[in-house]
């Protein structure tokens, strides 16, 4: 049986006693056993925890008690998000044996809402990458485009949802790491505003940019997962007190009359012609739905990648200082404490992580701080200001998610700068702290998925989801 479940269908089937939460979990584990060997998308499974949770849901059904909103829904978690007593590697050798003593708030909230956590998904090491090829545990296959990368860094989370090995998944996004793999695997993928979802238990890469967000097979399910994980958490001082809207209620509001900003800076050179065509078709569809298309200027877009790679690497060099062989992970012995640190870090980190630590240490070092880090923070303000001005004129901004379709495994691994430039349309919203979604917008030659990205103003998640839902319902995926 290979039924495609949704959050609603799982919950209804369990409530109607057509199946049980345990049976559904078992069905997903069967699919995983059959297909994960080839995909390499799950790194760790947690059957014990999943079945214990499923049994709690089945006990509610037996007792005739009301079911929580995600009752019995199988969900996968990116391996940079802490799960108590379930190994969490960050895709790195330096955490190969790490078992967190606590759960991330987002994970706790999912389970409190009835979700069944199936396991942990592969990702680029410490979420650094755009193709999932920087994982110490091998690359992930794109189930929507065999032979191609699934995108990154949340490539495993995108792949398990696209391959129907989970109903939904959590990923993390620092410069595009949810939205780009969502686009490459042909599914909706959402990053809420900075501060919308607690980062407690998210193992830090770049703290002023990192966000947790959902993947699902429909915008409606994406909204349901975000609804559960959104909201203030006293454990994360950067989680916001701004009220959480009712996302599902917003989905079916009419989009007629909404003003969508289109900026030529997001359709520059280096953009694949096929992607350009599909995004143009997506914009046409919005016109048919009655949206007004408004030309906007985002003059600092072209500086976003340079800014991002200063700020993200600087924060990473600081955050990753904790991996020193003292408190967790394998240690490589040395004669002195410093020698032990150096050897442990040299052996434990992969090449992209080391490259970023070196770059981040350099831009923060004495004599270069003003020229790089401070300059980067100032340009970040200019990029955020581009958005502020644009949102005086428009309700949302529509762009391609990625300038290119999914590329072949191994095609870009030797040129880090080219790999970084693939994030050109996603990093802007990361720097500005705004909500963004990637929603399917056709496939090149009926095969390679294309994603359309929608940015909203700060805490405008409901608007972003509403527009994504409208495109999906109007047939965006088959353009």
């Amino acid at each position: 049986m290979n039924e495609t479940w949704t959050i609603t269908s799982v919950r209804e089937a369990i409530a109607a006693k057509k199946t049980s939460a345990r049976e559904i979990a078992a069905e997903y584990y069967r699919r995983i056993a059959e297909r994960n060997g080839k995909l390499n998308a799950y790194l760790t499974l947690c059957e014990g925890r999943a079945y214990a949770q499923a049994d709690r849901i089945d006990a509610l059904v037996a007792a005739g008690k009301p079911l929580p909103p995600l009752a019995g829904v199988p969900i996968a978690i990116k391996d940079v998000i802490s799960t108590r007593e379930v190994r969490t590697t960050c895709g790195s050798k330096i955490l190969s044996n790490y078992v967190p003593p606590y759960d991330a708030t987002a994970v706790l909230r999912l389970e409190a809402a009835g979700a069944v956590i199936l396991g942990k998904t592969n990702c680029d090491e410490f979420a650094m990458g755009s193709s999932n090829e920087n994982s110490a545990y091998g690359p992930v296959q794109n189930p929507a485009a065999p032979g191609c990368v699934p995108g990154g860094s949340s490539g495993g989370s995108a792949a398990v949802v696209a391959a129907d090995l989970a109903v939904a998944a959590l990923g993390t996004d620092t410069g595009g790491s949810i939205r780009q793999p969502g686009a490459f695997c042909g599914i909706p993928a959402m990053m809420g505003s900075y501060g919308r979802v607690s980062r407690y238990g998210l193992i830090a890469f770049a703290s002023s940019l990192d966000r947790i967000g959902p993947f699902a097979r429909s915008v409606a399910d994406t909204a349901k997962v975000l609804q559960i994980i959104a909201g203030r958490d006293p454990q994360d001082s950067t989680s916001t007190t701004a009220p959480v809207e009712d996302y599902s209620a917003a989905l079916n509001k009419r989009v007629k009359g909404l003003r969508l900003g289109i900026s030529k800076q997001y359709f520059g050179k280096g953009m694949n012609a096929g992607v350009r065509e599909k995004i143009a078709a997506g914009i046409e569809l919005y016109k048919k739905l009655g949206c007004e298309i408004v030309d906007i200027e985002m003059p600092h877009t072209d500086y976003a990648i340079a800014t991002y790679y200063i700020i993200a690497t600087a924060e990473a060099s600081s955050n990753l200082a904790r991996y020193d062989g003292v408190r967790f992970g394998p240690r490589v012995d040395g004669d002195t404490l410093i020698a032990m640190y150096r050897k442990t870090r040299g052996a434990g980190f992969g090449s992209e992580v080391k490259r970023r630590i070196v770059l981040g240490t350099y831009v923060l070092s004495a004599g270069y701080y003003d020229a790089y880090y401070l300059k980067g923070q100032k340009v970040r303000a200019l990029i955020a200001n581009d958005f502020r001005k644009a949102f005086e004129k428009v309700d949302a901004i529509v762009t391609p998610t990625s300038p290119v379709p999914p590329f072949r495994l191994g095609e870009r691994t030797n040129d880090p700068l080219q790999m970084y430039l693939a994030d050109i349309y996603t990093v802007t919203g990361s720097l500005a702290g705004l909500p963004g979604i990637s929603v399917p917008c056709g496939r090149l030659e009926g095969k390679l998925p294309v994603g359309l990205q929608i940015f909203g103003p700060a805490f405008g998640e409901a608007r972003v989801l509403q527009l994504a839902h409208a495109l999906e319902q109007a047939g965006g995926a088959t353009l």
Binding site: Y98, V99, P101, Y194, G195, S208, P234, S237, T238, S239, T240, T241, A242, D302, Y303, A306, T307, Y309, S317, A321, D324, G325, V326, R327, F328, G329, P330, R331, D333, G334, D335, T336, L337, I338, R342, K343, R345, G346, S351, K354, R355, I357, V358, L359, T361, Y362, S365, Y372, L374, K375, G376, Q377, K378, V379, R380, A381, L382, P416, L417, G433
Partner: protein, 93 residues
């Protein structure tokens, strides 16, 4: 490059040093394009949220709450000696 690797407590092989030197030069050259922008009048943006959006975070009550994870945390260490982490000798006598 050696100085930066020292600052980061990172052992790099000769081959890594050579590859990174070339790649990081290229990345820094690319980053240099930020100098096209006059930012003399721009305030740096260290974080995106304003104070009122996390109001109770900065002004919460200072309460003592129980926390009993020390044992679990030590279990993750490569060389624990509860209640301590053991490391190579730091100070020579």
């Amino acid at each position: 490059m050696l100085r930066v690797a020292d600052l980061a407590y990172l052992d790099l092989s000769e081959a890594e040093l050579e590859t990174y030197r070339a790649q990081i030069d290229e990345i820094l050259e690319y980053i240099g394009k930020l100098n096209e922008l006059d930012t003399s009048k721009v305030e740096p943006m260290a974080q995106v949220l304003s104070d009122h959006q996390t109001a109770d975070a900065t002004l919460r009550e200072d309460l003592v709450v129980p926390s009993a994870v020390a044992e679990d945390v030590l279990k993750q260490a490569p060389d624990p000696e509860p209640p301590y982490f053991r490391v190579p000798k730091v100070i020579e006598r």
